[in-house]
Amino acid sequence: MAAAGVLEVDTPLISTAAPAERGLQCMAVERGGHLVPSPEHGLKRLLAAGAGPIYQMGPVFRAGEAGRWHNPEFCMLEWYRPRAAIDDIIDETEALLGALTGLECAPRTSYRAVFLSVTGLDPIECATDALAAWARQHDLAPANMADEHDRAFWLDLIMSLAVQPTLGESAPVCVTDFPAEDAVLVETHPDDDRVAWRFECFWQGVELANGAQELTDAATARERMAREQTLRREAGRAVPPLDEKLLAAMTAGLPRCAGVALGVDRLLALVCGFDSLAPVLAFDWARR
């Protein structure tokens, strides 16, 4: 990071607000606030205040996520470059992974391409019903199907259970242009708003990193956060207040920037040849 000119910073692990994303459950702190699920909001506030390229590496916290590749407390490396485009940050991610794994990353591909190759369905164009039907045909659908029409649900299900396990078999691979269904703080493609300028990196079927061309417009951010809050409310889940400080920073002016978040424990586990997180954690959740 130092060689690449990226400054290490530490932003608070206790925040007054929690991100709105429907897929994130934050741990509340008794005296007020939440433990951060990622340093994103703090880092973006620094960028809005004029910071150059910055990174933070340290623990982040996500409630309810424990399993072979999940631990509610895990180590995240997250960095942002102002004035960078998403392709620049993908290049940098591939270089970092190459250096740490000793392997050359597989050629970049797109979500549409990998999804199509496994399912025969175009994830951007096809009807939600077609996704549901495919999932059922392949015995992947859960028994009670109240969310027939939630496109993000079907995409996540098929991606996680059918497509992802095939990705990055011999070397890490970056998959670009994720569907915009669940995009909150990322820019959508200028030519097609169904596609987000977001990528993920996989190795041996495990998701290692998630990066994007970051959303700069505060009004759009607020709208999308409100949408996530509605989904949470409808699902009967806790609705944390919006991060007004981040929104204020974005209003003041977040420069065009790209960023990536990488799961360090997962990368370490795979580099060491393990097939789960437990061996690289001093005390995993069950043994803490």
């Binding site: 072979r68 859960p142 993000a152 996680s160 998701e207 998630n210």
Partner: protein, 190 residues
Amino acid sequence: MATFNTNQFKGGLKIILDGDPYNIVENEFVKPGKGQAFNRVKLRNLKTNRVVERTFKSGDSVEAADVFNLDLQFLYHDGEFWHFMEPNSFEQYQAGEAAVGESAQWIKAQDMCSVTLWNGTPLQVDAPNFVTLAVTETDPGVRGDTSGGGGKPATLETGAVVRVPLFIEEGEVLKVDTRKGEYVSRANEN
């Protein structure tokens, strides 16, 4: 009706799916970074023994199966049912052919068996790992005959047939490994 939530899933948990009792063999938590969580679960149907894979949405609830194991003493077989008793409460249970299965050929009166009960009815009977049974019928071994190598068949008091070394004679009591269906040793050797 007792239920379990997906975040309680782990190997050994017993649940009801489509009306049948299942044992969770493996539970995998799956979650894309920004997406919804699922549980991909391997389960064994406790009636048919078939293993299936199912997906559950994280946070969903399933019906708990009233399935547990008891150590019961085998009493007798009446031609149709095998009768067992819980030695402390003296409560009796009867198990059908489907539940007793392979164990039928190994158990004799007073043997303690691990019995899986579903809603109070025996679902599966496991014979002890090792049993001692007398040989009721076998050809006499020819002393010094080591050319056979494979031993000879012997019928045991329960009707089971196992291969035994040539030196074993009728009336001898043997130790048998019920999981492999194999002779281990004479009962008094150790």
